[in-house]
Symmetry: C3
Subunit: 205 residues, 3 copies
């Protein structure tokens, strides 16, 4: 099971790195800039979580992680024109990463302070903040705040998790089911272009 | 006295959350984005202070705080069109929060390292950085750097504090008087539209 | 030798402060905003490094550093029109600071975890992240990601360092030589307007 998390989180890291790199390429950054954006997209969420917890960030002790991101970013630069052609697997990896990073961040929060609400925030931050930092560095209002369903998927995963906890027969799979639910919500929202309503609907038009 | 701080800091948190939410609504963010902006506006300053001190941030152990922000943001979304009509109480709460957060951050700095200058910076950061992060996320140059008097109010509060310290008869009220001075400076600057001079006045025209 | 680092790092801090202040002045910030930008440009890289390591940031215990930045920023504001005339010494101090901050950050990383790759990242972050935060606050895509050679100079310094380590006769000067190499690369790239290729050259035109 530990291994499954590891594989999913590597797939997620690759997807986050490539999506970050591709965003940087479209903004016409240089090689170095693209690699930095790939890096912050992939590790930004986990970094922020560790910083909020007052701990050293994980990547300074994890050279393999740095290496995976570096290789993903360089591949993205070399084969930039091919990226749109592999959009479907990338979106699948990205959605898997979203679920996996959420669960890892949530578990980390629970193990630190045992509070549900702040652990949900830490999980969502782990899963989503990398994309926010990416957009800030690229001088955009974060897409996460405007249209894409990411955090909502985490929220649905959060509620699912607590429903599952009550059902003893599947309780021991609650983490895996949470990842799966987040994955499905994210994929469906991507496939059908779903988004949250704007907060100022009563003023538009 | 402890209770007075608590009440003022809650009023300040509500005002910061609503001002953050309103800024997000005007940028046409979705519900989730508005709530995030409310959250970072309210806790961003204290978070940055804790991070600078190498400590876990306060809100991960304070579910009540998260809840207050969440409720404030949702109210702001539901009654967005009414927000301009309650501008005066909001500005008053905001100015109270500014003073209170400054004093809390300053005291925290003094208790950590007993250095006056860096404690002033930590206090000002606690009071002002939330607004800076809000503007960065909304893709604006922070209004705090361009026209609004916030940090200057903290600076005046800082000098007042050290003058009061010398007057033994009122010394024990120095924190309360500092909050009051910051409050008055902020309210006056808002009321009369005061701002600092631009740094490049010798080049304009 | 300790003293040489100190002098170089002060020159670098002055240069970073003035370049930050000047960028703020050109964006027509007010006095306070300019001072903040000077501050984050000068200390942002080291702050981020300390935060990543889960340590309190250095400047909260270093009032002399805060004072140097403050004075540099005020001088920059008062003599803003003269700054372009002292571009050559400023670029020299800036390049010295780049080398010195890189080596200090790298050494700090090595002493924390003894891993080469993450120490390189921490060194580069120490040297370069201040400029990134400056550009984010000024609502620009960081110049570091688009054209300027800063991180590449650090990378060349990094490889130089490991080549020198192998030559026993000069091994004890490896830090100084690394600073010098970064300095030369940065000055040459500035003098001749060198930049990295864009990552999307295969798509332009």
């Amino acid at each position: 099971m530990e291994n499954l998390y590891k594989i999913i989180s590597i797939l997620g890291t690759v997807a986050f790195s490539i999506s970050g790199a591709y965003a940087g390429i479209q903004k016409r950054l240089d090689w170095f800039g693209v690699i930095v954006i790939a890096f912050v997209t992939a590790v930004g969420g986990g970094t922020l979580r560790d910083v909020f917890l007052g701990k050293p960030v994980r990547w300074i002790h994890d050279e393999a992680l740095i290496f995976i991101i570096l290789v993903s970013a360089i591949i993205a630069i070399l084969f930039a024109t091919w990226i749109p052609k592999v959009d479907i697997p990338l979106q699948i990896f990205d959605a898997l990463g979203l679920g996996c990073f959420y669960v890892l961040g949530y578990q980390r929060g629970i193990s630190e302070n045992n509070e549900v609400l702040s652990s949900f925030l830490l999980g969502t931050c782990t899963a989503c903040a990398g994309g926010v930092i990416r957009d800030v560095l690229l001088n955009e209002i974060p897409v996460l705040f405007r249209k894409e369903i990411y955090a909502t998927a985490c929220l649905i995963g959060f509620f699912t998790f607590y429903q599952i906890k009550k059902i003893s027969s599947i309780e021991s799979y609650s983490n895996q089911i949470t990842i799966f639910v987040i994955f499905v919500v994210r994929i469906l929202s991507w496939k059908f272009g779903l988004s949250l309503p704007q907060a100022n609907t009563n003023k538009s038009n």
